[in-house]
Every structure is written in C-alpha cells, then in structure tokens.
C-alpha cells in the first residue's frame, strides 16, 4: 500500500447496452484526501463508484486500489461502501446494531459465525461516535433519513476500511445533519481516503480537498480552481453557483470572481 494513489482508473469504458455511461476515464485519486464527485444526473457518478467497488464490471480499462486489483482490495477489506439510503426496503426486519455488525462479517469465514466480543465492542464504539447508541435496538424502519444514513456510514466504517465510497450521503436530509455528516467524514481524513458522490454544492468548498467533475468523462479533477466554465461544461448548461449557496471561492478563467 505504498503507492500514493488510493484509486487509479485507466481508460475505463462502461456502457449499458448502446448507451455509454463512462467514456475513457483515466483518473487517479490520491490517498488521504476527501474528494467530491459532482455532475448532472445520468452523468455516471454512481456507475463510477460501482466500478470502483467492483459491482459494475468495466467494458475495457482497469481499476487499481493501492496498486492492486479489485478482488485483492475486497478480500483485504480495504473498501467501505455507503449506497444511497433511498434504495433500502425500510420494512426489512433488521435492527441498527445488526446492520453495523454486518460490516464485520468479513472476519467470520466459518459456519455458526457468531460475532466476537471485539466486533460487538467496535460496533458500540461506532454507534457512540455517531451518536446512535440509544437507537441500537431500533428497527431501521423507525429511523429518520439522517439516522439511517449514519447507520450505513457506521456499517462501512466498523471494519476499518482504507477507502470509503459514499453515494449521495447527504441527499434529502436537513442542513444540520448534513453538516454533521460532512464534518464526521472530514474528520476521518487523512486516515481514510474518501470519495463522495454529491449534489451538495454548498459543502464542496468547506469540506472537500479535491473535486472531480464527471459527465461521462472527467471534465475536471483537482484541488485548485474550479472555474465557472468547468462547472457549466460538466452540467452542459450554465450553473448559477452563487444561487446554489456555493462556494466561497469561485473562479472565472483563473480570476476569482466570488469570495465570501
């Protein structure tokens, strides 16, 4: 794990039938950084995360995690994944504690795999860290959107991953919880490399080290100047960033046009 890039994609192409979702993506995400992936709906953001987790196979190209292939990364437990909360069946009979404990399953390869005291302790620590200890016996259907999101983050963190991949973790939740989640994730860096698909433009300048603009291809990836032109190109239309409550640094062709 000595390579400086946590995630490297080289000439990655993905299509659904005739529809190309990712086109010749070559990008390296450095380790110990928190990166936001922004872009329009249908631009391939979720697909990119699923390619990195191995859930979607690439048509051509390669994905490396700390210089190793995906299977090695999965087997070594380097990846933590937080899918969109909206995809879950909230009526599924499972408790908060059980959801987080399931993140430790990698440690149990034998039958009758009861959780160890260490797993139970780690789960309690995570619940405590997320402020969810009182809710550990609750069914997931009894949680708010923000609470469920925290539970899913806890499940991804409990086994100490090296990389955390999150798909819109702050979608449809209030500003206070949104800030709590962003801060919580921000505090995990540099121990963990974080990649987040987000539409929360307002949070970008406050919490993220790097931004990747994706719309089938990478329009921008960096940590310096996110210009209005890049944003407009990515979304395929003019985007009024200031009206979105963003960001305290906006550049127009290398010239800073807004600073709060």
């Amino acid at each position: 794990m000595s390579t400086k890039y946590a995630i490297s994609l080289t000439n990655v192409n993905v299509s659904y039938g005739d529809f190309q979702v990712l086109s010749d993506i070559t990008v390296n995400f450095p380790s110990s950084e928190m990166t936001a992936i922004i872009g329009p709906n249908g631009g391939g953001k979720t697909t990119l995360l699923k390619v990195i987790t191995g859930l979607i196979k690439v048509d051509t190209g390669s994905v490396k995690i700390f210089g190793k292939d995906l299977n090695t990364a999965r087997e070594k437990g380097w990846l933590g994944y937080v899918p969109q909360a909206a995809q879950f069946d909230r009526k599924f009979p499972i408790k908060v504690e059980e959801v987080i404990l399931s993140g430790t399953l990698k440690n149990h390869l034998l039958p009758f795999n009861r959780y160890s005291q260490q797993d139970i302790q780690n789960t309690r620590d995570i619940l405590n860290q997320l402020g969810l200890l009182d809710l550990k016996k609750r069914q997931i259907g009894q949680l708010s959107g923000g609470q469920l999101q925290k539970v899913l983050i806890g499940r991804a963190l409990v086994n100490d991953p090296k990389i955390l991949l999150l798909d819109e973790p702050t979608a449809s939740i209030d500003t206070k919880t949104k800030n709590q989640i962003n801060q919580l994730l921000h505090d995990l860096v540099p121990k963990i490399t974080i990649l987040i698909v987000t539409h929360d433009m307002a949070a970008i300048s406050s919490y993220f080290d790097t931004i990747a603009c994706l719309n089938k291809k990478i329009h921008y990836h960096g940590s310096d100047q996110l210009t209005q032109q890049v944003i407009d190109d990515t979304f395929g239309c003019p985007v009024d960033l200031i009206a979105h409550g963003v960001p305290h640094r906006v550049f127009q062709e290398d010239k800073e046009i807004y600073h709060d």
Binding site: G17, T53, G54, L55, R74, E75, G77, L79, G80, Y81, P83, F88, D89, F92, P93, I94, K95, E98, V99, L101, S102, G103, L105, K106, H108, P111, F112, N113, R114, Y115, Q139, G141, R155, A156, N159
Partner: protein, 275 residues
C-alpha cells in the same frame, strides 16, 4: 384422527410431511418474502411440472424429475439474470409456461393410461410415499442446517447484497444457493399443496408472522409455527370433512391472514384513539 394416525402409515406420513413442510415454509418463505421473489418462486414451481412429466415418461420417480427441473430452472434464472438484460418478469413468464408445456408433452408421450396429475397440481398429502418422505427429510435437514449455520451471512445478504459483495462475500454463490434452496423447498411443498397453490404456502405464513415480529430469526420461527398449526388443522379438517387437504390448508392460511390484518388494524385504531 388419532386412531387413524396410529393405524395407517399414510396418515403418519402425512403428519410428518406437514410438520417438515411447515419448517421449510417458515424459513424459505421468509427469504422469498423479504427478497421479493414470490413470482419467481411461482415460476420455479410451475417448471417442476415438466420434471414430473419427464419422470412419468421415462419411468423414474416424478418427485426426482420435479427436483431436477426446479433446481435447473432456478440456476438458469440466476444465470440469465446476471448475464443478460432480460427482464426478470419476462423470464418467469417464459419458464412458467415452458415447464407446464413440457409436462403436458411428456405425459402425452408416456406409455399406457395417462397418470393422474391432480395430486401434483393440487397436492395430496395422503398419497405421500416413504420414498417421498426420505427425500423431503433430507431436504429439510439440509435447508435448516445451511440457514442456521450461516444465519448472519444470510441476514447481511438479504438486507444488502451489494454491500455484502463489497466487503468480500461471494454473493454470486449466495445468489445461486438461495435459488437452489427455494427450488428444493418448492419440491417439498408440491407434495403438500401442489404446484398451483405452492406460492400461497410459501408466502402466507410469513405474511401473517410479519404482523407480530420485526426480527428475521423470530420471523422464520413464527412462520414455521403458524405453518405447522395451520397444516395440521387443515389436515384434521380435511380428514373429517373429506375435502382436499391442500385447498383446506391454503384457505385456513388466507383466513388467518385476513383475521390478523383486521386485528392489527383494530389495535392500531385503538392506540390512535388512546393517544
């Protein structure tokens, strides 16, 4: 009825198979309901008809034919689903009718008088043979063992198979294995209620149990107990009223489902009034 159980082998067989089928219903039914595979299970059940027909045509045990066709179709569905963009509903429709068509064809080709297929279509627990009983006992023991032994894995996989894959679980194997278990269970249940009614027996006990618990383990146990009580009651009533046992069991389950819905609604209304 107790006298009949003591005196007649077929009654003992029926009793044993009702108990074993209820255990399968409780465990696999919970998986089917929670994973939303009800129609898929119906498709697999109807494909089994082809295997029963093949058994009659080639002269081997029809239940083994059902087992081969159910298992084969479940593996085929999983494989096609993973490798192509074919809609699951479409696949179910194709397999459902193809299985039935093959069954009809094989029975037509069978030498001699056509066999009575009613017991396979509508179930007849009283015609269960000792051979059926041993096959079913093996299937039940296998099902219980693999679910109990890997319960935490099943819980994680059923809740979120994508996350389970990312943390290193072999979800491809789990997919195939789950469908295989569903296929095996369907074979057990065909002898009790028949191909046509198998979906009801697989889903209704769990649907009733879901009104009373929100814990996967308890859901499996409670579904099994509900299945057991209703199957034995249905068997008892069908014995005295001289009516088909499979239909009686399903009707009792449906009645209990609606009763539990009403009770739950009444309880909820009462709680709202209090608050």
């Amino acid at each position: 009825m107790i006298e009949a159980i003591l005196n007649y082998q077929f009654m003992q067989n029926a009793l044993l198979i009702a108990i074993m089928a209820s255990v399968v219903c409780g465990i696999i039914g919970t998986i089917v309901v929670e994973k939303k595979l009800v129609m898929m299970s119906g498709g697999i059940a109807h494909t089994a008809f082809g295997g029963i027909g093949l058994g009659y045509w080639l002269g081997f045990e029809p239940i083994l034919g059902a087992l081969i066709f159910s298992a084969g179709s479940s593996l085929l569905i999983t494989s096609i689903k993973r490798k192509t963009n074919t809609n699951t509903d479409t696949m179910i429709g194709i397999l459902w009718s193809t299985g039935m068509a093959l069954g009809i064809l094989f029975i037509y080709l069978s030498p001699g008088y056509p066999p009575d297929m009613a017991s396979y279509l509508f179930g007849d627990i009283l015609t269960v043979t000792r051979f059926d009983l041993y096959v079913i006992l093996g299937l039940v023991l296998f099902t219980v063992l693999v679910i109990v032994a890997f319960f935490n894995r099943w819980l994680s996989y059923l809740f979120d198979d994508e996350f389970s894959y990312v943390i290193g679980m072999n979800t491809l194997f789990m997919d195939y294995f789950m469908f295989l278990l569903i296929a095996l269970s369907i074979v057990v249940l065909i002898r009790v209620v028949g191909i046509i009614l198998v979906i009801a027996l697989l889903t209704t006990p769990t649907a009733i149990a879901k009104r009373f618990t929100f814990n996967l383990k308890k859901l499996m146990i409670l579904s099994s107990l509900i299945g057991m009580v209703i199957s034995l009651t249905g068997l008892w009533l069908s014995f005295y009223l001289n009516i088909p046992s499979g239909a009686m069991i399903i009707l009792l389950l449906a009645a209990l489902f609606f009763l539990s819905t009403l009770l739950k609604k009444k309880k909820k209304t009462g709680m709202n009034k209090k608050s």
